[in-house]
């Protein structure tokens, strides 16, 4: 059986073609999902890709989270479906309440595009089992509002429960609290991160192919061999 992984397109989504390519590279079938269609078309997992949904006007992800497709994603996530939010997708998942915290303007106020080292802090989530714990991976980061914020109790809970999945290595690129690059929900099925694993699937077009591990991990979680 081939896993079917949905990739959502909102108006203003940009990295949907890239996310679909990454899904295909991992051996799964990419199914495109349209924001206005609540039907998830029987997919096994969902990627909420990067971009500027609705122009990121108001707040990043604030408008997209109300799309019909997100209601279905929230239901499916409650039942344990693996969901990965990348960059704008991470912001949407936070706005939708699937992940805690919020992403705010980079501390230096500029958009930052750079190849970023990340440390894998938790290799037990649906999207990180293919990495060794503590492994360092090179993944592009490109965002203007990527600074992860949460109140102290939330941060303590995240750290205590091992829900910080990826952390920035070296100089913090955006002012993110505790150098957090990505977090998971309580069950480790929903993961969001600012850097773009779908841009690190081939040394031809990215700095590494380290990002593929996230997609392979999802296949493992779904119990299908890639």
């Amino acid at each position: 059986m081939t896993a079917r992984i949905g990739v959502i397109t909102f108006p203003g989504t940009l990295d949907d073609v890239d996310a679909a390519r990454a899904v295909r590279y991992s051996g799964a079938e990419a199914v495109s999902l349209w924001h206005a269609d609540a039907d998830l078309h029987g997919v096994d997992a969902v990627v909420v890709p990067g971009g500027f949904s609705y122009g990121d006007y108001l707040r990043c992800g604030a408008i997209a989270r109300f799309a019909p497709v997100m209601t279905s994603v929230i239901d499916a996530a409650a039942k344990g479906m693996p969901v990965l939010g990348i960059c704008n997708g991470f912001q949407i998942l936070c706005e939708a309440g699937l992940l805690p915290g919020a992403l705010v303007r980079n501390d230096k106020l500029h958009f930052v595009c750079r190849d970023q080292w990340l440390r894998v802090e938790n290799n037990t989530t649906a999207w990180s089992t293919r990495y060794d714990s503590g492994a360092e991976v090179l993944i592009p980061l490109k965002s203007g509002e990527g600074s992860y914020m949460a109140d102290k109790p939330t941060l303590e809970r995240l750290e205590g429960d091992g829900r910080v999945v990826f952390r920035y290595v070296g100089e913090n690129p955006n002012g993110s609290r505790s150098d957090i690059a990505g977090v998971a929900d309580e069950r480790g099925r929903v993961v969001g991160l600012m850097p773009h694993p779908e841009h690190a699937i081939d040394a031809l077009t990215g700095p590494s192919d380290d990002g593929l591990g996230m997609f392979y991990s999802a296949l493992d979680a779904l119990g299908v061999a890639a």
Binding site: V17, R21, F52, D56, F111, C113, K142, H199, L204, T205
Partner: protein, 607 residues
Amino acid sequence: MATDTTLTDTTARAAETPDAPQPYAELGLADDEYQRIREILGRRPTEAELAMYSVMWSEHCSYKSSKRHLGYFGDTTTAEMREKMLAGIGENAGVVDVGDGWAVTFKVESHNHPSYVEPYQGAATGVGGIVRDILAMGARPLAVADPLRFGPADAEDTRRVLPGVVAGVAGYGNCLGLPNVGGEVVFDRTYAGNPLVNAMCVGAMRAEDLHLAHASGTGNKIILFGARTGLDGIGGVSVLASATFDGDESAGGRKKLPSVQVGDPFTEKVLIECCLELFAKDVVVGIQDLGGAGLSCATSELAAAGDGGMYIDLDRVPLRAEGMTAAEILSSESQERMCAVVAPSDVDAFMEICRKWDVIATEIGEVTDGANLVINWHGETVVDVPPRTVAHQGPVYDRPYARPASQDDIQSATPDSLTRPSTPDELRDTLLRLVSSPDLASRDWVTQQYDRYVRGNTVLAQPADSGMIRVDESTSRGVAVSTDCNSRYVYLDPYRGAQLALAEAYRNVATGGAQPLAVTNCLNFGSPEDPGVMWQFERAVHGLADGCAELGVPVTGGNVSFYNQTGDTAILPTPVVGVLGVIDDVRRRIPTGIGNEPGESLLLLGD
């Protein structure tokens, strides 16, 4: 606030009041140009017509000072050079056959003055404009590049202009999802009051999908789609409302209209996807982007390129502001709009696709079997003109040009007269001056703000010599682009300097592993009314054209930006040259840099 409709300046009214004074001079038309319009029409133009002619006959739209010289590009292009050219000068953008059924289109545009007035929005809308040009050819935009010129890095105003321009290029391009794969950042004092913000876009399509702007087929519908039309960028035209009939003061209250446009990259992104779906479903006969001269340009160019006339009902244009006059609607430079010609049987399908993308689309008129472009407003005719006279038959000037006397002095100041470091200390000092010079500094501060990864096809970007994009994933075919110009060389010798710019861009494309195929340009110069500047221009055009002939690559299009000067001081002549190349397998690209592997041999080619 609303203009009294009884005062609408209709063609009938124009015929009845031949002597009504008109503010043509304020709109930038010369006496003889105004007379020519009267001759063409056999009466005085209406306000709306005057607005159309004045903007379409401006230097920016009509190329009146440069046309005569630009012809030399065509004269020097041989049949052999033309072989891979699917569309050339005169179209929205040049199109080149890159093999395997792929066609690639590319062009550079300037947005210099608006970027000085309001750096962020000026640069942002510059990117938006060039992207729509590429889209109007039927292509999917693939990547952008941004050749930039600023005053000295430590000048007060550069601190306002540079961060704003870079943030604007980033803000618009990133949100549009186009990787930024190249550009330049150059500092010189002559750009202090006149930065250059040039933007390049590259797009690709299947060769058979090439869409040229034309409106043929009587009964075909004209559909305006994208953003609403507002009071953007029509500062100049507001003299009409107040001057022609010295209207009441409430109309005069509009005098301070913004000449700035604000971009909405989200709307443009949706517009791109919507257009590509319209092309794919084959429901478009002709298409034109709305750029500098707004609806004036789009309607007159579409009609001029067709075989009939055109009727437009201006009341149907969706507006964003209240009380706009016909002239204002026609001149508005509101961004993120396109105009399509659609067969009646396809209108429903067209509208359905626009609804899917939440794009406002309105049928505003149709192709007629008449000869004229006729535009109605409130049920009366306000424009009735032969479209070619607006779009293509603007004035052509033969401006005097002469080698400035100062050129000898400039050329005699050779490097021999420079003092050279002769002691270790002086050498150290020179080296430190070099490495601390803004011109040699890292461009990271700029390029870090640009997304170079989006869409996952970027094979080369900064710090490579050229940007390279994979066009076809199944075959790994790709294209490379580079823009270059050392304007100090051009200043010394415009002919050779332009050739050096070409040679540099050509080399940058070649060293990445691509075969250079075609050339575009953005010719940034001072005032064409200065014979010395005109001479620089004429020499640069000849140098570039002759260089292209020698290398066997055609100039497929370009852009001219004159009047780049502060007071009497012109900028350094800056003919930015863009070269496009093809590579049949991007996996064989050659990344910039040496020393990647131990044991590499270093060879020096040339002398």
